[in-house]
């Protein structure tokens, strides 16, 4: 605990020393933990993640925010092969770490799609808000490319946060919105390859 100050600490870690394990691609997960306020506790909690093939992305750690039980909530973002994630959660629990929520965390995944077509004429802001509604997603950012001006064919890359495990349904919803608005939707290839 003492080693960590406040707010956000980013831990970067070289991914995948075991190539075979990441063959099926990796997914991002968020795990919420509650730690007792003792020195070394955070480090102890993180060990099982790396030991089970997980790759730490970031740690959100708010010291000021104490749970009713007097514990400190910590949110850990990590990536791991989907088939290793359960092992990570089990290992955390085996190590005596209090895991509040794992995997099923809201917006645990991100996907990007590229939209192509008459994006301006088809009302881009309406398109984005319908994606948020119909795909149950949050638009995290948007990049637009209109090399021939906004009257011609334009492309947009939209990065979306969605519920873990909900990617297929979300993409299905975006696909059907695309066909209603006559937009080409270039989806990520999920499964097998990293999304």
């Amino acid at each position: 605990m003492d080693a960590c100050k406040r707010e956000v600490t980013t831990v970067s870690d070289e991914p995948g020393d075991e190539d075979a394990e990441t063959d099926g691609g990796v997914r991002a997960y968020t795990v919420r933990l509650e730690l007792v306020d003792e020195p070394g506790e955070l480090l102890r909690a993180l060990e099982p993640i790396a030991n089970n093939g997980g790759n730490l992305l970031s740690i959100h750690h708010e010291r000021g925010n104490i749970t009713p039980r007097g514990h400190i909530p910590v949110e850990v973002d990590l990536e791991s092969p989907p088939d290793r994630f359960d092992d990570i959660v089990d290992a955390l629990r085996d190590a005596g770490v209090n895991v509040i929520q794992a995997g099923a965390e809201h917006y645990g995944e991100e996907v990007s799609v590229v939209l192509v077509g008459d994006l301006v004429d088809t009302d881009l802001s309406d398109t984005l808000s319908r994606i948020e509604d119909e795909a149950d997603a949050v638009v995290r950012d948007l990049s637009l490319a209109a090399p021939d001006g906004t009257d011609a064919v334009t492309s947009a890359r939209v990065r979306l946060a969605i519920d873990s495990g909900n990617a297929d349904a979300a993409l299905e919803a975006i696909r059907s919105l695309g066909s209603k608005k006559e937009l080409t939707v270039v989806e990520p290839l999920l499964g097998g390859d990293a999304p």
Binding site: A20, D23, G24, S112, V113, V114, V116, G117, S143, A145, A146, P147, V153, T154, S155, A156, R157, R159, T184, V186, E187, P188, L189, G191, G192, D193, A194
Partner: protein, 315 residues
């Protein structure tokens, strides 16, 4: 084995040319109008020379092919959709005469798979078709070795022309029409590239894969297919900013077939460049297998035909 080869295009000619190296005899080679037939083995070099020189391949009627003694019919006539003729009838005749059939022609396997298997069940001969999917790359034999039941999905790039166009668009920041014209100049794209760029050719291959995984049930009309014609250079630029690129990716599972432009990691295994093909075979017990290589070309495709011939049991 004694081979009777129907079709004297790039594939048929290469099969004839390489058959001797694999220990087989060519007893017949036919194009759409004539045939060279000799039960003791035709003069392959002479026939190929005539064909390439614009003359007739032989002095027999193509019909004579079926009347000669052969073990394996190699079907290398043009791929057609729907009834898949004349390829289907050629294979039908071979099987009814208790001969083997090896196809490079995708039509019969994609469009009439169950009929083909039914004919095979009533015949002493077998049907093989490695060359129909991914040219030189051993894909169907890998699935056969893993057993189709243990394969959950096959994904990848199985059209070199579309892959070449997307690769060039991404590298040069050029638009589709521009790169297509370049590909035609280089001979990578045909004068009429429709089936390559609209996804039909890739879809036929993934339909064949789905048929193998599910033991039939699919034809081209069951596939969801989208091409690359509407992908502008700007879409590839946006993908690249995010470490990705766009490829024409097919997916075959027991549930269905889908082909369309998809975002894949720029440095990931499926983002092969140029005319190269790749498949990822997802297995239940052995993780994912990747095979890549040349997905087309006469000699490349002929090696797939001849390795099929090598796997056939004696009649």
């Amino acid at each position: 084995m004694k081979l009777a080869i129907l079709g004297a295009g790039d594939v048929g000619r290469s099969v004839a040319d390489l058959a001797g190296d694999y220990g087989h005899d060519v007893v017949a080679l036919a194009d759409s109008t004539t045939a060279a037939v000799d039960p003791d083995g035709i003069d392959v070099d002479g026939a190929l020379e005539r064909k390439v020189g614009g003359q007739s391949v032989g002095s027999n009627d193509p019909e004579a092919v079926f009347e000669t003694e052969y073990d394996v019919l190699v079907e290398a006539t043009p791929t057609t959709l729907g009834d898949a003729e004349p390829g289907f009838s050629h294979v039908e005749r071979a099987l009814e005469d208790d001969r083997h059939a090896v196809l490079a022609n995708k039509g019969p396997v994609a469009e009439r798979y169950e009929e083909l298997r039914a004919l095979e069940a009533d015949s002493a001969g077998s049907v093989r078709f490695e060359a129909t999917v991914g040219g030189a790359i051993p894909i169907l034999s890998t699935i056969e070795d893993e057993t189709p039941q243990a394969v959950t999905a096959v994904r990848g790039v199985l059209n070199g022309t579309a892959n070449f166009i997307l690769t060039r668009m991404a590298a040069e920041g050029l638009d589709y029409e521009h790169v297509l014209a370049e590909a035609q100049d280089l001979g990578v794209a045909e004068a009429d590239p429709t089936f390559d760029v609209d996804g039909t050719d890739a879809a036929l291959k993934f339909v064949i894969l789905a048929n193998v995984l599910a033991d039939g049930g699919f034809a081209l009309e069951d596939a969801t297919v989208e091409g690359i014609q509407s992908i502008p250079g700007s879409a590839l630029d946006l993908a690249a900013e995010d470490g990705r690129t766009i490829r024409l990716i097919g997916e075959a599972t027991r549930e269905g077939v889908r082909v369309g432009p998809r975002l894949v990691p720029e440095n990931g295994p499926l983002a092969v460049t140029g005319t190269r093909n790749i498949v990822q075979i997802e297995t239940r017990n052995a993780g994912s297998l990747h095979s890549s290589g040349r997905g087309a070309g006469g000699p490349e495709t002929a090696t797939a035909v001849l390795s099929d011939v090598g796997r056939l049991p004696p009649l």
